[in-house]
Amino acid sequence: MNAARNEIAVTAGDGNLLALARDLGKSYPRVFRRRDRLRALGKLLVGIDGIDSVPVLRGVNLDVVRGESLGLIGENGAGKSTLLKLLTGVLTPTTGSVEVHGRVGALLELGAGFHPEYTGRDNVAMSAALYGLGADELREKLPQIIEFADIGRYIDEPVKHYSSGMVVRLGFAIVAALKPDLLITDEVLAVGDESFQKKCVRWMEDYLAHGGTLILVSHSMYHIQKLCRHALWLRQGEVAAAGDVFEVTQAYLAYHERKSVAAPDRSIIAGQGVEFHLLGLAANDMEQETPVFLNQGDTLRLTARVRSRDGRPPTVAFGIARADGTAVYGVSSEMDGIAPQRLDAHTWVAEIVFDDLSLLPGAYTVKAHPMDTEGVRLFDTIERGIVVRGSTREFGLVRLRHRWHDASAQVMAQNGADSASSSSS
């Protein structure tokens, strides 16, 4: 395969589709010794594509239309930066194709393209040239860049004396002045201080409001949810999920929460010799191992079937915990004075219904435990995953009933009282 054929084509588009990737993949060559490099050189020169390589990105399809805001999420090493580099043209794809139309502004890494020995001003000039700005355009935009960066006298000092925050300030200021059609940033917000982060977020919101297009990599789900309408989750170089930002970020967070819990011992205690054991647990009539999805405010019905060795009625306890193990709520049939229904001589069923589920979006584990008739000894556990979807930005586990002190109503009431008192005087 001829590598040159895969060059990123920067061509005139129909004005709406800014970036397009089809079956995009990237592999890095496995070269350790000098001999490997020589062999790779030879193969590339004669045009054989047989270099031993490690894939870091596979089969990514992407359409970014004008006005889109896409968040890229994923663990370290998932291929996010590689994807961005492919989009900006820094890297050449190994498989598939990528096309980018229009002017791209990229903040790929901290201080990308800055030379440490030169002053901020010189580096601004350099970056401007790299982005294709002419000398007169630069002259016109320089005050704006310096003002946005807001690093004071440091603008005339070598970049090596900068703090990392200052480097990001300067980098962002340049990109902001460029007004690119497509802005691509890689986890740069994390470095700036609070006020600069706010400034950047404000700028990006303004940029998006004026029809700008954004691809943002961040580990901050807050920033992703605040700035992006869609999200793409990369896992081990492949797209794990793509779509609405809230659904994707929640699935991603749920994955992390599940990951951080040690793999639970799901082996159901063997029936022999145990007074009570669970035959099954269904969430909304589904007994599968994979999580059950429901929306905030839906009804959650948990049904547990218990086998009783001696035919005595069991107590059944249900619990809800966040996927990382934090308990949310637990209750047993004995606490509420309820007896499970008897199906046959040895089988009992308990069903609990949570109407208008107040869990906040996220991943949770529901558990059922059979206990003895007195509700003292616990015999068995089955867990099921559920994922609550929703697009709220509230924090925590559940929505607590609340109301706001209505200031405007208060003021109006006050005014009313004032006018009443003035009219009476």
Partner: protein, 269 residues
């Protein structure tokens, strides 16, 4: 945007970047401080004075052609040493241009060839300044050069630049994959200098070796410059066309290799 406008924007961008790289390259080398600016002028003069001294009094060499003054050895040497300095420095600098800018290449998309072009042209610009100084010094020494032929000499310099650029593209690309390319080059270039009539004239060689010099691609340049500017020796039209063809062929080859390897630079840097 129409594709025409886009094409123009890309060309404009490449030009702006190249100009910027050249400026940076010049600053990096000599113009970092006040004394360095002076140094670019002093260095060629000192080098020339020492060469003239050594060649006249130690090696007791006379410039070829019996009727010229002994002082003519100075411009004679200068016309070999300056093109050589420009050429060898351009090739060596260009060879590491990609590797030295690995950080930039990994983070920003830009035409990478501009780095090689800037490294080569900065060398030629600097040594061009030195060359002008030498021409003036030669006039002051009472060895007038045939300045009417200066445009031809500059054309030869331009051709030498094409040759250096071709080697530059080639070695810059190979250097990314084979890291000792530049070290090997640094060893080989002096051999190339001594097998070309840089510090001597072809006439000084025994008859049977004289033709061998023709195999060295650099031989043409000092001989042509001396013939045009000093009136020493003669270079036929065949040799001129040969040098032109060779320079263009090297540039075509070097650029082709560079283009082919360019998409994979980032993987191997």
């Amino acid at each position: 945007m129409t594709s025409d406008a886009l094409q123009r924007e890309r060309v404009g961008k490449s030009t702006a970047i190249t100009v910027h790289f050249i400026r940076r390259e010049l600053r990096n080398r000599y113009l970092g401080s006040v004394s360095d600016g002076l140094w670019t002028l002093l260095q060629p003069l000192m080098q020339l004075a020492i060469y003239g001294f050594v060649w006249t009094y130690v090696f007791k060499m006379r410039p070829p052609g019996g009727d010229v003054s002994p002082a003519a050895i100075v411009p004679f040497l200068a016309l070999g040493v300056w093109p050589w300095n420009a050429f060898s420095e351009a090739v060596l600098r260009a060879a590491t241009a990609i590797q030295d800018n690995a950080g930039l290449i990994g983070k920003v998309a830009f035409p990478r060839g501009a780095l090689v072009f800037a490294a080569s042209s900065a060398s030629f610009l600097l040594h061009g300044v030195g060359f002008i100084v030498v021409v003036i010094a030669s006039e002051l020494l009472g060895v007038p050069l045939r300045l009417m032929h200066l445009p031809l000499a500059l054309l030869a310099f331009a051709l030498l630049f094409v040759l250096a650029l071709g080697f530059g593209y080639l070695f810059a690309a190979v250097q990314v994959f084979v890291r000792d390319t530049s070290q090997v080059l640094a060893q080989l270039l002096p051999l190339m200098m001594f097998t070309a009539p840089v510090l001597y004239s072809r006439d000084y060689l025994p008859e049977r070796f004289q033709a061998w010099l023709g195999w060295n691609p650099f031989t043409f340049y000092p001989e042509y410059l001396r013939a045009e500017l000093l009136g020493v020796g003669f270079v036929g039209i065949g040799a001129q066309l040969g040098a032109l063809a060779l320079a263009l062929a090297v540039l075509a080859l070097g650029y082709a290799v560079f283009r082919r390897l360019n998409p994979r630079f980032e993987d191997f840097l």
